[in-house]
Point group: C2
Chain length 210, copies 2
């Protein structure tokens, strides 16, 4: 394994970005997601991904170091892409929508497969876990916008830590989905949003103190 860290970086920004490398990278990411969605992590094999992408095995191992690196790469790409952030003018609705968005994404029969498989797969290696951390950091940062706007409008007290509110809203949902494996329903999403807002207004998420 020629330095995993380097491999991941290379996957994100090759020293020779033009033309072929970029195409190979794109093809491999696509193929990875496709294979992952169809067969799941346990049946995921580098050879199958390569075959689908029309790329040689050795290349995949060189650039990504294995299955885990490929998943980390796919996740890194997803982290860059922007996510629709609700903006109704009312925090309560915005946060509720945030929670509902997560609920829908991982529940709807047509939408859930790929995201579920991708995150589930990321949990299965140290490399993937690291990429997942970065992914959520990016997402939280984006979603925090909802909170900062609300503070600006006076709908939430000043001290509130935006990211903490976002975390509190989504944590119970991801917890159910990926840790306890309990079913996720609308009520759970609503509860999470309401509880998070309540705590924020009680000053529990204030950045400064405990």
């Amino acid at each position: 394994m020629p330095e995993n860290l380097e491999a991941t970086q290379a996957a994100t920004a090759g020293t020779r970005p033009g033309g072929r490398s970029a195409r190979v990278r794109a093809d491999m990411v696509t193929a990875t997601l496709a294979e992952l969605t169809e067969k799941g992590y346990d049946q995921l094999t580098v050879e199958a991904i390569c075959h689908r992408a029309g790329v040689h095995k050795a290349t995949a191992y060189r650039r990504w170091g294995g299955v885990d690196g490929l998943i980390a790469g796919a996740l890194a790409l997803s982290a860059d892409q922007p996510w629709p952030i609700p903006d109704t003018g009312n925090v309560d609705d915005d946060v509720e929508l945030l929670a509902r968005e997560v609920y829908i994404t991982f529940t709807d029969r047509d939408l859930r497969t790929t995201p579920t498989a991708l995150i589930g797969a990321a949990l299965r290696s140290d490399l993937g876990a690291a990429a997942l951390g970065a992914f959520f950091a990016a997402r939280h940062q984006q979603a925090a916008e909802v909170v900062t706007r609300a503070i600006g409008r006076g709908q939430l007290p000043f001290g509130v830590d935006p990211v903490e509110l976002v975390r509190a809203t989504t944590a119970p949902l991801y917890h159910r989905l990926f840790i306890t494996g309990e079913p996720l329903d609308e009520r759970a999403a609503h509860r999470a949003a309401a509880a998070a807002l309540l705590a924020a207004r009680a000053g529990l998420f204030d950045a400064a103190v405990r």
Copy 2:
């Protein structure tokens, strides 16, 4: 693979529980945890575990079906063992202690390694994930006692769903630990406990309605 489900059950309750089988099982569980703690999941190999336990490779594959089964078995054993539940007479303190217990378990330099490795490993396979679900179900059930007692004492309103309160208390912590990989501190534990209690008293965790 000869029916994974069956393999897990067999690991839990062999048809011939007396003597040797039981010893083999115990030795293997111990060895699994030891190897897992020392080397981590990625370096975990059935052969090494068997060598340490003085058990033949084929036996391990027959009974547990592979590394994942061994981890599921270890987890199933942990799920059975009781956990110390706080009982101070005051819910606020009890819930706070519940959160703190999680915090300590996964933060203290001397305690954290094995539990962290075990849960982390469980997340890396479907079999392990299933065992993890059962594990948390058992834990939640035990911890719910704190809440039912509090309701009996009139410290919490009647409708509160005990398990939901426990979940809300611990979810943010496990979320940080195993999903986003963010550091866990005392403040986070306190926040989780306080927020959960607040939500419960606001009726957000009432069993009946949304």
